[in-house]
């Protein structure tokens, strides 16, 4: 079951981060909603 996904298509990050994909992925962690991820995990475990 997918819990958390990171989109690394160019249209997802190129406007803000150009071709620096590591900076985009690093910034993702500050936006992740772990409450939702935990809820999905709890639902997947049932």
């Amino acid at each position: 079951m997918p819990l958390f996904g990171i989109d690394v298509w160019e249209h997802a990050y190129y406007l803000d981060y150009r071709n620096v994909r590591p900076d985009y992925v690093k910034a993702i962690w500050g936006l992740a909603n772990w409450s939702d991820v935990a809820a999905r995990l709890a639902a997947a475990k049932k």
């Binding site: 997918p2 819990l3 958390f4 996904g5 690394v8 298509w9 690093k26 995990l41 475990k45």
Partner: protein
């Protein structure tokens, strides 16, 4: 008169607060404090090749105690040690999420820590050739949290993400994903006029 003493005396006559800094700087104390004079017990002797005996009677830091508990009981003790001390940068509520996220002992053994999981997922996602996705998924077969990537390009190798994750995403790459896409297409909707 020693430098700084006149200023301290004038300040004392005026009733101001005592100046400790200048006095301490100009007149260093000739005695040692009681704390620094305290002698530590000698360390017990041990032979080379044998495990080092524990240093009893010495105050251990929070980091040292956490490391000891990590060695004794595995990485799960680290989380509780982080929650009760300020040595970890993660806030308390994120540690609760972490314990929910890495609830199974298998997942803990796989990633080790929350930071390790983030580092592994970041590395896998950044390493995707071209466009694609990085996934954190739950594999029901092994009952563990898994990391997977999916390059969204025709002709790419088959997806390495969990089967359930492939089924849940509308557009995915690889031979397996494309075969699933064909089987899940609604041909009736395609034939009907818009």
């Amino acid at each position: 008169m020693v430098r700084g003493e006149a200023r301290a005396r004038t300040n004392r006559l005026r009733g101001g607060p005592p100046i400790y800094a200048s006095v301490a700087h100009d007149n260093p104390p000739l005695f040692v404090t009681r704390r620094s004079r305290r002698r530590r017990p000698p360390e017990p002797l041990h032979l080379l090749g044998e495990p080092r005996p524990s240093k009893q009677g010495r105050r251990r830091s929070a980091r040292g105690r956490a490391a000891d508990s990590h060695q004794r009981q595995g990485p799960s003790r680290i989380y509780s040690a982080c929650e009760s001390s300020s040595m970890c940068s993660l806030p308390y509520h994120l540690h609760r999420r972490l314990r929910l996220l890495l609830g199974s002992s298998r997942a803990r053994a796989q990633f080790g820590s929350f930071e390790a999981m983030k580092t592994q997922l970041s590395g896998s996602t950044v390493a995707v050739q071209g466009s694609g996705w990085g996934w954190l998924g739950y594999d029901k077969a092994t009952k563990s949290v898994a990391i997977a990537t999916c390059p969204n390009q025709v002709g790419s190798p088959p997806c390495r993400q969990p089967r359930a994750a492939r089924r849940g995403t509308p557009i995915t790459g690889g031979r397996d994903c494309h075969s699933l896409l064909w089987s899940s297409s609604s041909w009736a909707a395609c034939e009907s006029p818009a």
